[in-house]
Every structure is written in structure tokens, then in C-alpha cells.
Amino acid sequence: MTKRDQLGSFELMVILVLIRLGENAYGVPICEELEKRTGRDVSVGSVYAALERLEDKGFVTSELGEPTPERGGRAKKYFHVTARGLKEVRETQPSLVKLWQGLPELHGGRA
């Protein structure tokens, strides 16, 4: 795997949210879920930039949904995680867990 195909930290957060949301993953719930889980404000533009990078890497696909009046008649864009994206997340998790282990600073020890 090239460095270009690896997941960045924000991309990893976005892809985890996509998995969590399932079929209803479009901009608004993605941002709300990210804000709820991270406790930080996220910008819609940054989320779309991450989604475009994930799409370029083949980890995510998208399709246009129905336009609604509360969106000024604009269509929603739904995002789905591909099999390749799921595989990448599965492979990333053990590496991150291994890196986390044995660090007392992260378990209430001295920083």
C-alpha cells in the first residue's frame, strides 16, 4: 500500500462515522455525528474534502439522493463505505491499538 492510500486521522474519523450511520450517511448527519462523538465543531467544507479524498482512494462511493425544500431544492449526496474501505479500517485498528499499548502517559501516568 502506498502512502497515498493510507487513512489520515480525520479521514479515519469520517469513515468510522460513515460505517456507524449506514444508509443515511450524507453531509448533515455526518457532521452532527462527528460533533457529537468528538465534542468539536466541524466544518462542512472540511468533511467534504475528506470524503473526496476517501473517494479518490476508493474507500467510499457516493450517489445523489432526492432534493428537499429545507435544502433549497438541492439534492443530498449519500456516501457508502466500500469493501476496500472496510478492509482498510480493519487493518488500521490493530496498528493503532499496538501503538497505544505500553504508553503510561495515555493512562493517567506522567505526561
Partner: protein
């Protein structure tokens, strides 16, 4: 109900200068969240972030094209400026030369020169936009940014006296003509992609 209408200028800005291919979806999401009770400040902040992030992301995605646009755009601008501003100089040489000493040019000379600058910028923006179909927005913004940096750099390094935009060394003329040039490049680029036939 009007208070729940998102700011239309902000929508227009992102709709016309946003670089992301998902612009429409971004505006739709912002509208939906705004109608859920977000403030106008929040909306404007999101629009500016979307403009900046989209520009950086798309420019990085198409680095070679972006670099080409800056080079091609500046060559076009240089050629068109030589042609139009050169013509202007030849036509009004006597009048401009006399003004180098007494600086009291008739108003119509300033207006005619600003018009020539406007035409130059518009032609540069339009041609560059046409040469970079499908990627016009990030490419146009980068090209405009390069012209702004050049104008600022020139003023600092060489001094405005050496620029024809200052019309004989006037800082006000330099600023005004620079603003006309930059604005007309953006308008030319905007015209290039709003009048482009839809892709088949």
C-alpha cells in the same frame, strides 16, 4: 420566515467561486443546518471555510494543471496587456507624456485606461478559464492569487513608479487599476465557466 432564509450573497459566493465538485451538496447541507437554528455568523464562517478548503484541496488534487494555469494565464495577461495597454500608450502618448510633469490628466484618460486594464484582465481570465475546462474554479482562483502576489511584490520590490498601472507614479491609480485588473480577471474566469456548454 425570512430570518430562516440563508444569506443569499454567501450562497452566491460559494456557488460561483467554490472549487469543490460537491458544491451543491455543501450548500444544501449548510442550508439544512441553518434552518435548524444556526446563526448567520456560523453560515458565513462555514462558507469561507468551504471556499478556502475547497480551493486548497482542488489545487493540490490538480497540481500540474494549476501550475500550468498560472504560467499560461500570466503569459496571456502579459501579451494582452502589451497589446491593449501598448495601444493605449500609442494612442494617448502625447497626453500621457505631458502629464508626467504636471500630473493633471483629464478624467477621461483615467477612465479609458481603467477600461483598457479591465479588458486586459477580463480577456486574461476568460482565456485562462477556457484553456482549463472542468477545473476552472480552483485554477482561476490560483491564477488570480498569483496576479495579486505579483502586483504586491512589484510594488514592494520595484516601486509603483515603474508600473504602467500607476499612470506616472500615483499610488491611488496603482491601487485602483490593480483592483480593476484583479476583479476583471475573476469576472472573465466566471464568464468562461458560466457560459461553457454542459459536458456531454
Amino acid at each position: 420566515m425570512t430570518t430562516h432564509q440563508p444569506p443569499s450573497l454567501a450562497q452566491w459566493l460559494l456557488g460561483h467561486f467554490g472549487s469543490s465538485p460537491n458544491n451543491e451538496a455543501v450548500i444544501g447541507d449548510l442550508d439544512e443546518r441553518y434552518r435548524e437554528g444556526r446563526s448567520r455568523t456560523w453560515y458565513w464562517r462555514q462558507i469561507f471555510i468551504a471556499l478556502i478548503v475547497g480551493f486548497i484541496h482542488e489545487t493540490w488534487r490538480h497540481k500540474i494543471l494549476a501550475l500550468r494555469a498560472v504560467i499560461v494565464g500570466n503569459i496571456i495577461l502579459y501579451r494582452v496587456a502589451n497589446l491593449l495597454i501598448g495601444c493605449f500608450g500609442r494612442l494617448f502618448n502625447g497626453t500621457v507624456r505631458t502629464t508626467a510633469t504636471d500630473r493633471q490628466l483629464p478624467m477621461w484618460i483615467y477612465i479609458a485606461f481603467a477600461f483598457a486594464v479591465c479588458l486586459t484582465g477580463w480577456a486574461g481570465g476568460w482565456l485562462t478559464g477556457r484553456f482549463h475546462r472542468n477545473y476552472e474554479r480552483p485554477v482561476m482562483l490560483l491564477y488570480t492569487l498569483s496576479v495579486v502576489l505579483y502586483l504586491a511584490g512589484f510594488a514592494i520590490a520595484a516601486g509603483i513608479n515603474y508600473s504602467p498601472l500607476s499612470m506616472g507614479g500615483s499610488p491611488e491609480c496603482y491601487l485602483l487599476n490593480s483592483a480593476v485588473l484583479v476583479g476583471s480577471i475573476l469576472l472573465g474566469g466566471l464568464h468562461a465557466y458560466t457560459t461553457r456548454p454542459a459536458a456531454v
